[in-house]
């Protein structure tokens, strides 16, 4: 199993996957700095940092999950190497589990980078235009905790996107589903459906009612692991040609 994961990590070299991971933190840093120096920030650290996590949860996180899983799958599809790796006799569940673990880990790493970006933009903005510097203390612990919860809540959408991306050789299909899901999520925020809509789980972490936030973490996290297990069974049983 370790060998399969190492093999999957080698494949990331020189691929676009790492570029996709860099996009959210870079965007959030630039955007964050611009908002602060233009005088449009909330003014204090806690609220500014929190709005940063909201942007991540609403838009950048589901888009990253979409792009990352699609590119991860394309590494195998584009070159048609499924036949080769499946013919090595390596148990299929290991091959697909490894993909899932890597997708989860890369989402976690991107979340960390986003946390760095939130604080970096706050500090840099304050240094560039000192009159707009944020007031109060940077809420390091709180932001890390929120991002961690969002990551857990995002496992479901990540596993779902990965399953579609691996199953179909098309790149456009999972990307369309991901974009569609992200936009529907915005509309579904306040509806009943919003409670269970995979793309909304990370956003629900920010809900003011603690039960709703807890439910999002539970559905996203447990659902994510269940979805991964279902994906492994589903993909292991099909013909690969």
């Amino acid at each position: 199993m370790i060998g399969v994961i190492i093999a999957d990590l080698i494949k990331l070299r020189g691929s676009l996957v790492l570029l996709v991971m860099a996009v959210p933190p870079v965007m959030m840093t630039v955007l964050g700095v611009l908002v602060i120096i233009s005088g449009n920030s909330a003014g204090d650290w806690p609220r500014t940092a929190l709005s940063g996590t909201a942007i991540w949860a609403y838009f950048l996180l589901p888009m990253t999950a979409t792009g990352l899983t699609a590119l991860l799958a394309q590494l195998e599809h584009s070159t048609g190497v499924w036949s080769h790796i499946l013919a090595t006799g390596t148990p299929r569940w290991q091959i697909f589990l490894s993909k899932g673990l890597i997708a989860f880990a890369l989402m976690g790493a991107t979340s960390l980078l986003v946390g760095l970006a939130i604080f970096a933009s706050g500090h840099v903005g304050g240094i560039l235009v000192s009159t707009e510097a944020l007031e109060g203390v940077p809420p390091y612990g709180q932001v890390v905790a929120i991002l961690a919860k969002m990551w857990v809540a995002s496992l479901l959408v990540t596993a779902f996107q990965l399953a579609i991306a691996l199953r179909f050789s098309s790149f456009a299909l999972p990307v369309s589903v991901g974009i569609g899901g992200t936009f529907v999520a915005v509309a579904a925020t306040s509806s009943q459906w919003g409670l269970v809509f995979p793309w909304l789980m990370p956003v629900n972490v920010l809900a003011s009612e603690p039960e709703r936030a807890l439910l999002a973490i539970a559905i996203g996290g447990i659902g994510g692991l269940a979805a991964l297990a279902a994906m492994i069974v589903w993909l292991s049983r099909r013909d690969w040609d």
Partner: protein
């Protein structure tokens, strides 16, 4: 383990109404180079995909080196190297990294990488990205990858597809030498008999999902109808003399050519000509061209 390198029993696979592989019982003994032949769409790749456990079969059983593929997939495939259709590589990785991926997946030591790179003569190019490789280099890297871990069985689906004559010769040489050098058994598919005749010890001929022949090349030639060439002084008169029994005789230069003839026939023809007072100066039984045997087996016209 004992048992032939590959043994399938009554293997079948359907795609909707189409029977891609029909009741196929294939047997490849250890140490053979088995040329797996058939025209486009014959079912070669489908068979190979089943052998490698990539697709399900609708009926039949597969044993590789004595291991049942259904109950013992991992062990059965552990010592099998393969190329299916194209040498699919990670184009963003170097040649060496491509081999490393497979080493990690199969639990093979990295020392193998240099060994196989040398075999296919790619050591100098190993640091370049596979995306920059020519088709011939990709094909060679695919073979190198299949050779990792000293497999007992190599399954190569049209490994010379798209190569120039020099590339074809190079790959063919590699395959021909492999049993002696590495002790491997090889199943190599092709749609041209002429391509495998110089290296294969045995052949299987498939068409429309069925196995029409399997055995040695000389068996294939022996069972096919031969051609008799007769040199004589008056071809036109000879043809008339033979017209009742051998209506297919054709005049060719200073002689006759009779298709579909065996040795007993040749003696009878000679006797008949002499009785008709025609002087026969030479009789030769010619084996059919391999490609003709193949075409007549598979029912395609040249």
């Amino acid at each position: 383990m004992t048992g032939p390198a590959i043994e399938t029993r009554n293997l079948s696979r359907h795609y909707g109404d189409l029977t891609a592989v029909d009741d196929l019982s294939l047997r490849v003994e250890r140490g053979q180079i088995f040329g797996f032949l058939g025209p486009n769409g014959a079912g070669k790749t489908t068979t190979i995909r089943m052998l490698l456990g990539l697709i399900r079969r609708d009926a039949g059983s597969i044993r590789i080196a004595g291991h049942d593929l259904s109950s013992n997939r991992r062990v059965a495939l552990a010592r099998v190297g393969s190329i299916v259709e194209t040498p699919a590589l990670y184009l963003n990785l170097t040649g060496r990294q491509n081999l490393a991926v497979t080493c990690h997946m199969r639990g093979i030591g990295k020392g193998e990488i240099d060994r196989v790179l040398d075999i296919v003569d790619l050591a100098k190019e190993a640091g370049r990205k596979a995306g920059e490789y020519s088709l011939g280099m990709r094909q060679r890297l695919g073979i190198a990858r299949a050779l990792l871990g000293e497999p007992e069985l190599l399954v190569l689906d049209e490994p010379t597809n798209g190569l120039d004559p020099a590339g074809i010769r190079e790959i063919r040489q590699l395959i021909a030498d492999a049993p002696a050098r590495f002790g491997t058994t090889i199943l190599v598919s092709s749609h041209m008999l002429s391509e495998v005749e110089q290296m294969a010890s045995h052949v299987g001929v498939m068409n429309q999902g069925r196995l029409l022949f399997q055995g040695t090349l000389s068996d294939l030639i022996r069972t096919a109808p031969h051609r008799l060439e007769v040199r004589l002084d008056d071809p036109a008169r000879a043809r008339t003399a033979l017209a009742d029994n051998w209506p297919d005789a054709e005049i060719s230069g200073a002689g006759l050519v009779l298709p579909g003839v065996n040795e007993a026939d040749a003696a009878a023809i000679n006797r008949q000509l002499v009785e008709a007072g025609i002087a026969v100066t030479g009789l030769t039984i010619k084996p059919p061209a391999l490609e003709d045997i193949f075409l007549s087996l598979t029912g395609e016209t040249a």
